[in-house]
Symmetry: C2
Subunit: 303 residues, 2 copies
């Protein structure tokens, strides 16, 4: 690995720091998450504490920011997409909690802290994830800013994203299906199913909130698939090349597993990240979504 790339990896906002842009959006998301997850004693204390530990732990909020920026890109308003964005982040956090469990990836560190099951117990972690997932659907159903038809579309999108052909399917294949891990295409498909689908839901949902037409939705989908791919490849790079202190989670955890890096190496993977970003941006007109993507991956594309 070159020194330049080492510095990219270690300094990257994707590694551990919060993205500097768009800061105000991220703050609005934090604030709204706090409101949507305020139960005033109506939930057991330990469940509330576990939820706060996992939801408010310096997550990067990339997916909810993408949802809002996508809505803006296609002519919609930040306010209309805010609750949906929060729902996406609840699903993302739940999926991290579940993936970290002993019966899954058995991870001990996440975001520079103990994973939820290590800190609170496996039972608490599991119930927190279940409650966050169900809250996500309730938040969309209750959102005053959106027409009923849009809310139902978003709920179906989220259901597909999590369920039998979504994140659950991707995690199942990752754990059990060796055949998917032997080729670059197989790993790419798996990355999409494990990670990309939530990027697609965020961006497509944001576009739908803005009232995007079918052509625009297809464009949003293609963009999100490639940004999701770039993000996952970058995450694999960080995992392969960083130390725990730089990364904030268990580094090298995937080293026993096949991923793109074990198939094509660090430099080729870095090129693949760049290509995925270029492919993501190609079909999009300039606007909030292109601006955010360029900032998000600035340190990769600049070197």
């Amino acid at each position: 690995m070159t020194d330049a790339w080492q510095s990219v990896v270690q300094d990257s906002p994707l590694a551990s720091d919060l993205p500097s842009e768009p800061g105000s959006l991220r703050q609005r998301i934090e604030h709204r998450l706090g409101e949507l997850l305020c139960f005033r004693g109506q939930t057991p204390k330990v469940l509330d504490e576990a939820m706060r530990y996992s939801m408010f732990s310096a997550g990067k909020r990339v997916r909810p920011v993408l949802a809002i920026v996508a809505a803006q890109h296609f002519g919609g308003h930040e306010n209309d997409a805010l609750d949906f964005a929060c729902a996406i982040e609840m699903v993302h956090t739940a999926s991290l909690i579940l993936d970290d469990l002993p019966s899954m990836d058995n991870a001990a560190i996440r975001r520079r802290r103990k994973t939820l099951h290590v800190a609170f117990g496996e039972d608490v972690a599991l119930l927190t994830a279940i409650a966050l997932l169900s809250q996500a659907f309730g938040v969309i159903a209750a959102c005053d800013a959106l027409p009923s038809a849009t809310k139902l579309r978003l709920i179906q999108l989220l259901s597909d994203t999590i369920g039998f052909s979504g994140l659950a399917a991707g995690q199942m294949r990752d754990l059990r299906d060796e055949a998917h891990l032997k080729t670059v295409d197989g790993v790419t498909t798996l990355n999409h199913q494990k990670t990309g689908v939530l990027f697609v839901a965020a961006v497509e949902g944001g576009a739908a909130i803005a009232g995007a037409g079918e052509d625009q939705l297809r464009c949003a989908n293609a963009f999100a698939r490639n940004v999701g791919l770039a993000f996952q490849l970058y995450d694999d790079l960080l995992d392969a090349t960083s130390t725990l202190s730089a990364l904030g989670k268990d580094a090298g955890k995937d080293s026993g597993k096949r991923n793109v890096i074990s198939l094509i190496g660090v430099e080729e993977t870095r090129s693949a990240v760049k290509r995925a970003i270029e492919t993501a941006l190609a079909p999009l007109a300039e606007g909030p979504l292109t601006d955010y993507t360029i900032k998000l991956f600035a340190k990769v594309t600049a070197t």
Copy 2:
């Protein structure tokens, strides 16, 4: 325990057999569940097999039947409530899978077979439960028979039923909160949170589908709380007094735990079941819901 009660317990349709009434409803539910959970190769094979193992394992289908019968009771149509009823059963099955996990109740037998995690592994069980929960929301959102406002109301109801003040909260208290297990009132509250809430969702949802007014919804809610209580108390009785072969799940599993039986004994609990059924039926006009309840608990009330 009297011989009469022993025979009630062993012969009861709640113990292991399917309720004989309303048979055609149960068959329609089975058939529709098969349609709603048909993925034609779009989900990993092991996830599909695990879903089938848990969803189509001679479950009693009491909750979905209650949902449909409640809709009928308040003037609605079976067809309108069918998909919601199936969603309720998906949530119920998911909650059983999760409750049985090693980090929860650590149960080995359910419905006369190995529990899902014993048969397929903990990872598969967990992902099956997650996928079923998310599918339940998607099924309601996609249901053609219902107006958008009703679907969104049902989705919020289901979200509340599962989440931070619903089943997840109830299971959390059951596992961690000893204070709830020291009095009859505490155990009753816990029973409601662990079991009753899904009965309430089924019946209130069915009533909402029928277009029931606020008075009728309150009535449906009170009925369902008490039927849920009766059902849970009966389940505790079966657990305390049956053998594995009669019960189809781990008998005596709760014997180390406080439940109503350890506080007031078998005969008092049996009286409490009868009282709960009477209280449930009191506010209801005669109709499909009263008929079904009387049939469901026939063997308890007859003795």
